[in-house]
Symmetry: C2
Subunit: 244 residues, 2 copies
């Protein structure tokens, strides 16, 4: 299947209220009919080639994929300061973040190729935070996978809304996701009786899946090939379980 | 391969010094030649049908398997008190525990069907503690997998001896493995720059893989089908990586 995959991709404009957003759709045209579907939420720089590449990788695995846009069409931060400002705006307004995540989810669910009973969401960094917020919003999806996402919650009591299975993939040396946040996340999941799992990859810092992040762990964010590959396999195993 | 597997099993007597031990060997006779090999270390009740069943499951996956005996031939505790006494004897004497673990490893490495460059060890409960001690002894193996093992170490500085990759599979609600031990284990691995990974399964207590452990989480030890299956898959993925 993979060898013969014909991946169709296209930009998709959609709206949340009056805000115009632009996501990215990817699926394998060589497969017929509806299929399990995966939503991708971007890192703090917004929807970039990184997420589009992940979308194509997932499409090659047979999923119908939509990489959403939280920030708005054309809002694509070019430096860390701008990225921090955008990410901070939504992290500081979790209701708006949930709303934008659900707007993207609706696009995916309404896509003609989506088997609406088999939908999951994954996210990286800011997107890893977002998919857990999506779960906390009570979204009717099978599971969420957070890759090096922030795990804090201003309203841990919202854990009780979670219907999805939660897989948190965490770099054990990630300075952006402090131990106290990890512990609070665990308590939130535990108290709400969520079906959850946390994986800590030794030697990995923030951004361990991002091949654009360099290799210098001392910067606190770096690519880690082992953790990247393990986490991708962990995600595939999780999908195998939730979509069966 | 699995459907046509012909699993050969036999009891194997061997010695550590003057102490007679009795382990259990399992391999698939329908496969020719040397193959990756897996050592199994038993729970606190010693080598039982549980470990023998796991040995057969691994043999069906194509591994040459040896379930060792730490306690000695015929020493098979029949109740928790006796089991606690035996396990406590070795947990309190880590040098002896390492010696016994290495004696079992030698049997596996000397087996005619073992590819000695592809050897791993797994252990459950007491055995989960033991395989990490085996790694701390500097054993020349590719990896160890600890299922609901105790993670404490009286000599965390021995982490520097570890050559094997370490995968610790932990029930997030396991009262036998307190959070401070988990944190100390993480620090030991981190400080020694071990290639390590820790998985926490939400909702799982001690003994989550043991189908004889009942289903009452309030007892602190119980079977958990989801965590059992996920951890088995995690082990297989780990083997795929370390044996490639």
């Amino acid at each position: 299947m993979v060898a013969r995959a014909q991946i169709h991709t296209e930009a998709v404009e959609y709206k949340d209220g009056d805000t115009v957003l632009e996501g990215f759709s990817a699926y394998d045209e060589s497969i017929q009919g509806k299929r399990p579907a995966v939503l991708i939420v971007h890192q703090w720089k917004g929807l970039t080639d990184y997420e589009k590449k992940r979308a194509e990788m997932l499409a090659k695995l047979g999923y119908n994929v939509f990489a959403l846009d939280i920030y708005g069409k054309g809002v694509r931060p070019q430096d860390p300061k701008e990225a921090g400002a955008q990410a901070g705006k939504y992290k500081g307004n979790r209701e708006l973040l949930r709303q934008r995540a659900n707007a993207g989810l609706a696009v995916l669910k309404n896509h003609k190729l989506t088997d609406t009973k088999k939908v999951a969401a994954i996210g990286y960094c800011f997107g890893g935070t977002t998919v857990i917020e999506l779960a906390r919003s009570g979204a009717d999806i099978k599971g969420v996978v957070s890759f090096h996402g922030g795990l804090d919650s201003p309203k841990p009591e919202d854990g009780k809304n979670i219907k999805a299975r939660v897989l948190a993939l965490h770099g054990a040396d990630d300075p952006n996701v402090p131990a106290k946040d990890v512990a609070a996340f665990e308590d939130e999941m535990r108290n709400a009786k969520v079906d959850w799992e946390l994986v800590k990859y030794g030697g990995a810092v923030h951004s361990f899946t991002d091949w654009n992040a360099g290799n210098d762990n001392s910067k606190g964010a770096a690519y880690n090939e082992k953790a990247d590959k393990r986490s991708w396999e962990d995600m595939k195993q999780f999908f195998g379980e939730i979509f069966k």
